[in-house]
Amino acid sequence: MNTNNLKSILMRPEISTFIMFVVIMTGFFIANENFLSARNIRIVMGITPEYIIVAIGIAILMISGEFDLSVGSVFALVPMTMVQLVHQGMPPWVAIALGLSIGIAVGFVNGFITLRFGIPSFIATLGMLYIARSLTTVATGGFPPPFPHELPNELFVFQFEVFRASLFWMLGVAFIAGIMLHRSNLGNWIYSTGGDTAAASSMGIKTNNVKMFCFILCGFLAGFAGMIQTFRIEAPLPSQGYLLELESIAAAVIGGVSLFGGVGTIFGAAIGAILIRFLESGIIMARIDAEWFRAGLGSLIIISVVFNTWVVRRGENMVHKNQAEENENSSQKNNSVTESKDE
């Protein structure tokens, strides 16, 4: 029983990602021991929370069986809206609330188009990728506005000794999302919707509502993370979050989230996002040309998915072998029982 538990833990894709994470971290540490210095961890973990928050939103949406390619654009549009509203004279907190509701609105529109017209979310959100990016650029009115210091950015990005405040916001998001996905009945509905939509709806799950919730959550988290980045660099850039949609999907997939829905964890998505950021830093620290980062990321995506698939298959084979052995044992027992009866 215990070995079975151990095997079933090892079979979990996010655990193999974690093992890979440890291996890669060790490798870079050997290449340059400053890689794990407080200073480098401070730099990497200062920017990583933003990416983790986006990856969490994407992961939940992917588990429900849908995609969102517009997160990178929402990541720019939401903070740009906030900044411009403050420049219009709006109180900062009202601007923040309105900005975040833009993220919610984009998520709603993504969900509405996908579900109402029955088209792939890949297409609906690809359209939104361009629309939201275009709106962001239009909202700048030609050139990026200055950062209004009325905005309470210290609350979100204050630099402590090693970590930034954003790390704690991220932990809060991860905790709530984790409880929701892994412990609440809503999580059960999300997994079942992504695992087999027809079966879930035959059990009375309102699968469209579940998906809509995930679209909205994803849009909201992308906007929230974008806000944190703008608050950190204190400059609203219309190019912010460019290609982030692909990187977030990469983080989720590296962390064991399935492209086909129904499989994945918050922990996995977070590890995936952290791994990508440390890979970037490690390549620089190892004095490799930074242009190699994308090659490294590409290889990481492929290797991790191949590795995950291999681990899961191996685990399944073990289970089947165990079952076969058990059946054999029990049938032998039965045989011996009948034999003794015969005697």
């Binding site: 412990r183 009945n185 059960n188 879930a200 059990m203 009375g204 499989v263 399944e316």
Partner: protein
């Protein structure tokens, strides 16, 4: 088996974009019986069960459940009354554990806000194992993902789920499709056991030899109509085969 009718249908009609899929179908189903609903592909069996399970509504006609007329707007409404349907495709999520599958949409929760709350995992795990034992299905752990079970075991889990939620009527849509002989017998034993626990089953199949041994009543459909409705003692397998083949 009692003489009371648990379900009665009167003159049900259903059209799908011009096709008359169900023609004036009337049917009485006795409480605690096993009814075999047989017919070739396209006979209207699936249409009938979609209506009985609340997935579709009839274009005309009446349905009575325990004597009262019902009009289902969703499968959930039918399930709340105790009519549970096991579809041809398994109504289980392959990647999810047995316990989670048993409780999909009906999770036991605490700290609820509206309909959302934290799942009582331990109590659900225990209830899941008990429910499996009740249908004589002995599996090792409630955490096992369903995709590691055999086809017969999966049907067993679905039947255990229906039993646990105290279904009064269980509609089984081709439950023995794609199963080996051994697994088929397992499923037939599950269904036979339901009678003694006060559950009425409607067993849909195109394979007469599967349902004949366990059915109390057999209903043959062809081209959207009911062409025969016989108690088992009034018929035999040759007559039924003839009806099935020649309509």
């Amino acid at each position: 088996m009692s003489n009371e009718n648990i379900i009665e249908c009167k003159d049900l009609n259903k059209y799908y974009s011009g096709v008359h899929a169900l023609k004036n179908l009337s049917l009485k189903i006795k409480k605690d019986s096993v009814v075999g609903l047989i017919g070739d592909n396209g006979a209207g069996k699936s249409t009938l069960i979609k209506i009985l399970s609340g997935a579709h509504s009839p274009d005309s006609g009446h349905i009575y459940f325990e004597g009262n007329e019902v009009k289902f707007k969703s499968t959930k409404e039918a399930m709340n009354l105790g009519i549970e349907t096991i579809y041809q495709y398994s109504a289980l999520i392959p990647q999810m554990s047995i316990a989670r599958n048993i409780f999909i949409g009906r999770e036991q929760t605490t700290f609820s806000l509206g309909s959302i709350g934290l799942m009582k995992t331990k109590s659900m795990d225990k209830a899941a194992m008990d429910a499996l034992n009740d249908v004589e299905l002995h599996l090792r752990s409630p955490d096992t993902p369903v995709n590691q079970l055999s086809g017969g075991e999966r049907q067993g889990v679905v039947i255990a789920r229906a039993m646990y939620f105290k279904s009064k009527v269980l509609i089984l849509d081709e439950p023995t499709n794609h199963l080996s002989v051994k697994e088929t017998n397992k499923v037939l034993r599950f269904v036979e056991g339901l009678k003694n626990q006060g559950v009425t089953s409607i067993f849909i199949t195109h394979n007469l030899s599967h349902v004949y041994p366990i059915a109390d009543h057999l209903c043959v459909m062809a081209r959207g109509e009911k062409i025969a409705d016989l108690a088992k003692q009034d018929t035999n397998i040759d007559e039924l085969t003839d009806l099935l083949v020649n309509g």
